[in-house]
Amino acid sequence: MNTKTLMYIVKRILLAIVTVWVVITVTFFVMHAVPGGPFTGEKAVTESVKAAMEAKYGLDKPLGIQYLTYLKDIVFGFDFGPSLKQRGRNVNDIIFDGMKTSAKLGVIAAIIALISGVILGSIAALRRNKFIDRIIMIITTAFVSMPSFIMGSLLLIFFAINLKWFPANGASKNGLVLPVLTLSLYPMAYITRLTRSSMLEVLGQDYIRTAKAKGVSGMKIIFGHALKNSLIPVITYFGPMLAGIVTGSLVVEQIFAVPGIGRAFVNSITGRDYPLVMGTTIVLATLIVVMNLVGDIMYKVVDPRITLE
């Protein structure tokens, strides 16, 4: 690793920190710009009760002070404060509880998408323009242009209602099968197409021809030479894939009633639970920013041929 790469990494980390700060700031001020505040719309409360509530949650202080306190709590204590609607629970606990389910969902979906995508893509590239390649390309094109909520709903109709193979409720036994499938299909299709095109490009390179001329067996060419190099574009997709899985999980958890962080986020928005909205937004956003960062850095480190800007 040379100084140029190091400079690039430092620059990217700085940008990521600034981005997370922008997210926190935007989220804070946007949520405080909502007219009425968090306590309107509920049962009518008297002025004194409202004042007491606002004092309890620190809402009576000037906005600038509130902002600084909030920022300080997050940075030094990773503390998002109490939830307004779920009495006695901290936003941290709710996020942590949801994260356990969502992380399992996301990680399994990502692994399935990666493995099956690379395998299908390699098959399609090796059997280029044959029947199996055509089939794979048609199916992946359909999957790529189908929004995740539609994919989820269709899987729900087919596997949960018509065939009754898996439960429709994500909280029950085997309930995570359909949500995982829904989340993994889009990235799988994307990775398949990515692997296919980059594999085709690599197979046309001189060093592959050299290997063939030396008499290296087909399998060895694929696994020893071609696959490693054709996976570089897949690495660039690492960040966007995880970001897509996070946003996809918002609707997927809604469809299958999975008790995860995505569902907590959507419910907090419709239920106007402001600290929870801010907390989940910041946590999910940080997650996406970090994933993108890791993806970018990996990409630059893996392939020394890539020139840095």
């Binding site: 710009a33 359909a142 995740s148 709903s153 109709i157 209602i161 937004t281 956003a285």
Partner: protein, 352 residues
Amino acid sequence: MDISKLNAQVNMDDFIPATDEEKEYMVQMRPSSTFFKDSVKRLLKNKVATVCFFIIVLITLAAIFVPMFWPYSYDQMLGMTPGKPVDNSFNDLKPFEYGRSEIRRMEAGETVVPHIFGTDSQGRDYFIRVVYGTRISLAVGFFASIIVLIIGMTIGSVAGYAGGKVDLIIMRIVDIIYSLPDMLMVILLSSVLKVVMEGALDGTVLAKIGSNIISLFIVFGVLYWVSMARLIRGQILSLREQEYVLASQAAGANGKWIILKHLIPNCFSVIIISTALQIPSAIFTESYLSFLGLGVNAPMPSLGSLASDALNGISSYPYRLVIPALVISLIVLSLNLFGDGLRDAFDPKLEK
């Protein structure tokens, strides 16, 4: 000495200068072809893109014109007649079924337009709701892309042409917005803007469009211009070193003139391609938000909100989900394929 005898094999008549008529015969005049014409020709050769283009045109025309002559409207509850009790026989009709009063009218010899997709749980004709939802989704996609185009083009060309500090500052802002997780920000901003706009819009013309769609446009304008700006800046950075820009500067043209007359027209292909690819992503985002309940205001339908409403009765009426789902997928797929075709046709260098 007689020359013709020495060159017996050559017919000297062949070497007489050609007359004007003969010259005319030799010259083949072709109508001059512009870049645009060439590209359209290349596009028409691409069968997939052409078919997709016709599908889009067909869907668009249907979405515009069908609601004009269809006897039902998207928010009309068919069982409700003023002054009479609600007729529940109109609710949840299967395709090609009729309500009680309609059956009576048909027995009397009148023709009743069938409910091709049945009705929804509130007795509204589902076919017209799907058509209307398509109209909303297409309109949102189209106008959102135009907004993105205008903002991105302006900022990108200014950054590219001005260079220096202006460029540096703009590109840092672009970098930050670009690395924001867009969907989360879209959800957050549109859910808050919706509440803010509701009060502000009352009584204005915009109230008719609905606070949700307006806030969606604003969010698009704020977040999605960055990739367009980056693209155009990159193009302009290389274009502004061309001789014709120097010539124009020497002739005393100002920056605005050079950007509008020389630089932007030369970015034409990039602009057209990325706008075409922006439309399906805007439609995608709108349907995603509508599905989460943050899209268009009820009772106005959009394809996403129709799909989301259908989830409630999914075991009895699965087709209510399948129909809008198919329409969204068809629109997004054909727009994407058409966009790819446009890219190949308008930018042959970029071929992947």
